[in-house]
Amino acid sequence: MILPNKLIGFQDSIIAKMIYILDAVSLEDQSISSLYNKVKNNFEDINQYILALDVLFTLEKVEFNEKAQVITYVKTDNL
């Protein structure tokens, strides 16, 4: 369910869903709960949202600021 396959289409894979989170956090830091409220319509359920965050964290695309309790976008130099 992370990657698309013959059973799960790209739209339903976590890869695709991660975009919604990235779109939100790239603009500003988000608390986990408010982020969830913003994007939950794009997710099957909360578990999928948690999994998407796990994947983004593993890929080092997001970080968790324990102090502020927010998710921050990790900017990378694309050049």
């Binding site: 986990i32 709960s33 969830y36 359920d45 796990d54």
Partner: protein
């Protein structure tokens, strides 16, 4: 034929009898109590009667018990018997020296006589044949107006039946009567059963109502039959289509619930927030991907733990929601199951129809049975009615035939008795009553002559083996007529026993004729028995 009587109490020990007329003759001064009637009564006794014991018991009182040895002769056969006044219910069968061989009951004996006399008739005993026409003083069959009466209190209906039997005409009537009796019994049983509610009580009104109802029920039955054939096909088609779509719906719901259950498991796993030890796998991974950021991966766990902690509320909420959803869907599945089941039970529709058919058929049967009883009773009533009518017709015909036979014969005999052309007596039977007289002649002598005529007619027409006419019958008849009667008696081939006296008052020819047929002469000086108990100074021989 009775041929010989021996009694040691007799003055004349042995009396020899012959075919035709046998006369016991009294003296010219018409002496009474000399034994004429008694001898006739003894003859009756030897023919199986009991009146000698019952009505003439003075003989036994004065003489003590005594016995009669007697001989019957049939064709070439001679039968020797002894009957005693002591054991009169038995007869001793003897050899030709009157030595007792065996004792038989009177009934057996009379049966034997009936056999030998060839007068075996349906339901008629020998005594009932002979006894009636042995008209002896002391018996009750001397009523000149009632020739067929055996005893005073005998109902005319019974006398008529016996007469019919004697003419062997009762058999056909009896068959009819038995048939009617059987039908009447059957009807009585039916009515009794209805009374006790063993079978339904059905009146004409109920019968008609039932008939109408049977027609209605049959129509319903027919309608139901056609309905079932078309309906069952339709229902099957309909049901399979509907059930199919319901099953499809159910399977969608099951998939849905499975998804939800998976989601629930995931949510609950997240809630438990268990750490997974992935260290060994990660170390191995580094062997192949040295630049792999293991630290980052190791941090995922704590990241995951952190965010799930934060999202605990949402997770709990999600768990609750999923559970509720699962419940709701499971409820829907149950409803679907019910619907499918109920749709399938519609297949019981033919079963219901069959039940209905059975009920209708049972009702029709029941009504049919009820009416069956009614019809049966109606048929029985009809049968009884027609059989009774037929019996009446038959009886009348048979009685008419018999009467006309008797009347014709009496007319013949009467012509011989009264050569001056006097009217003959007639017997008329209507139902259970009869009359016997000569139209326009109510004289005593005529009446007794009529009785004699009647007996002579029967002697000729039937198997009646013998007759006995005592003096009281004969002495009232005018001489000329009696002379002719004696002439007829003498010509009979069957035995006729008479008691008569004052022979000198009759013509020479008649006196001579009687003399020649005389079996015993009695007088004041020659009594039947050795002892005379009618006088104070007894005479002993």
């Amino acid at each position: 034929m009775l041929k010989q009587i021996i009694c040691d109490k007799f003055v004349q020990k042995e009396i020899i009898l012959d075919d035709g007329l046998n006369a016991v003759v009294g003296d010219d001064i018409a002496s009474n109590s000399i034994g004429k009637s008694t001898l006739l009564m003894i003859i009756d006794f030897l023919f199986g009667g009991e009146d000698y014991i019952k009505k003439n018991h003075d003989a036994i009182d004065h003489l003590g018990h005594h016995e009669f040895k007697f001989l019957f002769e049939f064709a070439d056969e001679k039968l020797y018997f002894i009957r005693t006044t002591n054991e009169y219910k038995f007869i001793a069968v003897c050899n030709d020296r009157y030595e007792i061989q065996k004792r038989i009951k009177v009934e057996e004996y009379t049966n034997l006589l009936q056999e030998k006399y060839k007068c075996r008739l349906e339901d008629l005993t020998f005594r009932n044949i002979v006894g009636r026409y042995f008209r002896i003083y002391g018996k009750e069959n001397l009523n000149e107006r009632k020739p067929i009466q055996y005893f005073e209190k005998e109902a005319a209906a019974n006398s008529i039946i016996v007469l019919l039997k004697l003419f062997d005409k009762f058999k056909i009537i009896k068959e009819f009567e038995e048939q009617i009796e059987k039908l009447t019994d059957e009807r009585a049983i039916l009515i009794e059963a209805a009374k006790k509610d063993l079978i339904p009580r059905v009146t004409k009104t109920i019968f008609n109502k039932n008939e109408k109802r049977i027609v209605e029920l049959n129509q319903q039955l027919e309608a139901l039959k056609t309905e079932i054939i078309s309906a069952s096909a339709d229902i099957e088609a309909l049901i399979s289509k509907e059930v199919l779509s319901l099953r499809k719906e159910k399977s969608t719901l099951i998939t849905k619930v499975n998804v939800l259950k998976n989601r629930l498991i995931r949510t609950q796993t997240n809630l438990k927030n268990k750490n997974i030890n992935i260290q060994p796998e990660l170390k191995q991974l580094l062997n192949y991907f040295p630049s792999f950021n293991v630290e980052q991966v190791e941090k995922v766990d704590s990241f995951h733990e952190s965010i799930t902690k934060i999202l605990k509320e949402e997770l709990l909420w999600a768990e609750k929601e999923v559970k509720a959803e699962i419940l709701e869907i499971e409820k829907q599945i149950l409803i679907l199951d019910d619907t499918i089941n109920s749709k399938l039970t519609i297949q019981n529709a033919p079963k219901f129809a069959i039940d209905k058919i059975i009920e209708l058929a049972a009702q029709i049967n029941q009504l049919g049975d009820e009416n069956g009883y009614f019809t049966k009773k109606e048929n029985l009533d009809d049968s009884i009615k027609s059989a009774t009518e037929n019996l009446d017709i038959l009886k009348e015909k048979v009685l008419d035939e018999m009467c006309s036979q008797i009347n014709i014969k009496m007319h013949e005999i009467n012509k011989q008795i009264y050569i001056d052309g006097r009217r003959a007596p007639t017997l008329n039977i209507h139902g259970n009553k009869y009359t016997f007289n000569t139209y326009g002649d109510t004289g005593t002598g005529t009446a007794f002559a009529n009785l004699v005529t009647f007996d002579l007619a029967l002697l000729d027409l039937t198997c009646l083996p013998a007759i006995a006419h005592d003096l009281p019958l004969l002495k009232n008849i005018e001489n000329l007529a009696l002379e002719n009667i004696v002439d007829i008696y003498s010509k009979s081939r069957k035995q006729v026993f008479i008691a008569i006296d004052k022979l000198s008052s009759y013509s020479k020819d008649t006196a001579q004729l009687i003399e020649s047929c005389k079996v015993l002469q009695l007088s004041k000086d020659k009594l039947l028995f050795t002892k005379n108990w009618k006088q104070d100074n007894q005479t002993n021989a």
